[in-house]
Symmetry: C2
Subunit: 298 residues, 2 copies
Amino acid sequence: MNLVIIGVIGLDDIETPFGSVKDALGGCAVYSSCAASFFAKAGVSSIAGNDLPSEYRELLLKRDIDTEGIIYEGKNFRWSGSYAYDMNSAETLTTELNSLANFSPILPENYKKARYLMLGNTDPDIQLSVIDQFAHKPFIVIDTMNYWISSKRESLLQVISKSDLVVINEGEARQLFDTPNLIKAGKMLLQMGPKYAIIKKGEHGALLFSDGKFFSAPSYPLETVKDPTGCGDSFAGGLIGYLADVDNTSEESIRRGIIYGSVIASFCAEDFSLNYLEKINREEIEKRYNEFEEIRRF
Amino acid sequence: MNLVIIGVIGLDDIETPFGSVKDALGGCAVYSSCAASFFAKAGVSSIAGNDLPSEYRELLLKRDIDTEGIIYEGKNFRWSGSYAYDMNSAETLTTELNSLANFSPILPENYKKARYLMLGNTDPDIQLSVIDQFAHKPFIVIDTMNYWISSKRESLLQVISKSDLVVINEGEARQLFDTPNLIKAGKMLLQMGPKYAIIKKGEHGALLFSDGKFFSAPSYPLETVKDPTGCGDSFAGGLIGYLADVDNTSEESIRRGIIYGSVIASFCAEDFSLNYLEKINREEIEKRYNEFEEIRRF
């Protein structure tokens, strides 16, 4: 096993103009590891509640995810959110931390040798503690959110400086550097240390920044977005899963990984929770990847 | 001369976080014809005021634009607008129609045989009257704005149904079809008759829809956008100028035309009014076009 993913396992209540779900499986660790599982086996480090339905545990095992690093304790983290007409961003209705408040990851021994580490959106101090448990420095991908940018800025900047690839969304990029210009923000991210920076723009695709190079990835043209929850995490998971599979972190590989991540994210958006990701296979992923070739050709 | 462009000649007062200009040359006919002029000679049909400074008339002639179709009368149309921090959209401060209120284009004889017609953003009834003056149906590109979508919807739908290529921005597309989903909006545009539909997304690039095909064009990564005024018109002008030059309207040509249009729009944004477009040449345009190849390669 060459890939470790840390983050949240959640139980989500979600409402969109296209329907709603209750107690659905969610959380960045779940979306990212399932997305990665189409390319590489991932070990998940997270904390879940004893109330996490057994079919959700089985879903992770069915996707051949290593769950040794998941601790079960108390009640599960819960989030409820609602998307308005334009589906661009969720309004958080309630958040119950529950057992997540005690998350202090201790990696199983076989996790510590992985060459790829995805630090999903969690407390930057927890992200730092995970990096410290690795004997050799892995290739580190980090995601975060607006909450940590404002409440734990110093720790977050430390994590970013120790990472190889930062993946944040456009709102977070603008917030982090107080600039409306994403090109400026991308270049400022690189100045903090990482070799690569990706700014996710949802329906508008993603931008990749690296030393002197720039890549603009389109998004897949979806007529129906049922539920955008987890799309960003699926994107990052698909990307790092692909990198771990090819075991190569050249700029060329990152470009291709971004397209694979975009493919998985597009499937994720087509139904609630992991309903669509459960159904697809590698062949369908390759088919959509090839469609991307046609979408950007000129 | 194989290309006719109709639209507004304006005198603009513009304020952005990067500076301001007064009595600057503007208007969609000016931006589009100057953008087109890098590829093909355009005949402009418009109305201007007797107060239009002579250096502005000379600027058009210097760019080898045919100005026979420009009528001079009374005071010139004036617009003043201001862009806030995020530079996404202008707040219109004042609009003075002046002589534009009497715009009733009568095309010079040599205009009527052109095979390419750009109907810049004006009253849809005026756009219709121009189409009727052509002996043979040209390849028609039409742009419009939110004002006409709400105030002259029926006439606008008629123009769209007679056109070959609609170019509108994302806000207008959403407004026209009352949907947040741009892929749906693009397909609905095609159902109205045109062979091609383009949705402009500013910093996020542009989408091209045609029968069963889809193209997503990136935008050029600009760190400094000084003034976005006229970028949409420069985009459309560069596109139709390229099409008129190669005299081909295949989907492949439209894709390449979109990239040329994006190149010209990116130069336009780098300074106020036409200040930057006045300075560039075809070589610089080709250089930036080649950069686009690198930006979207994977």
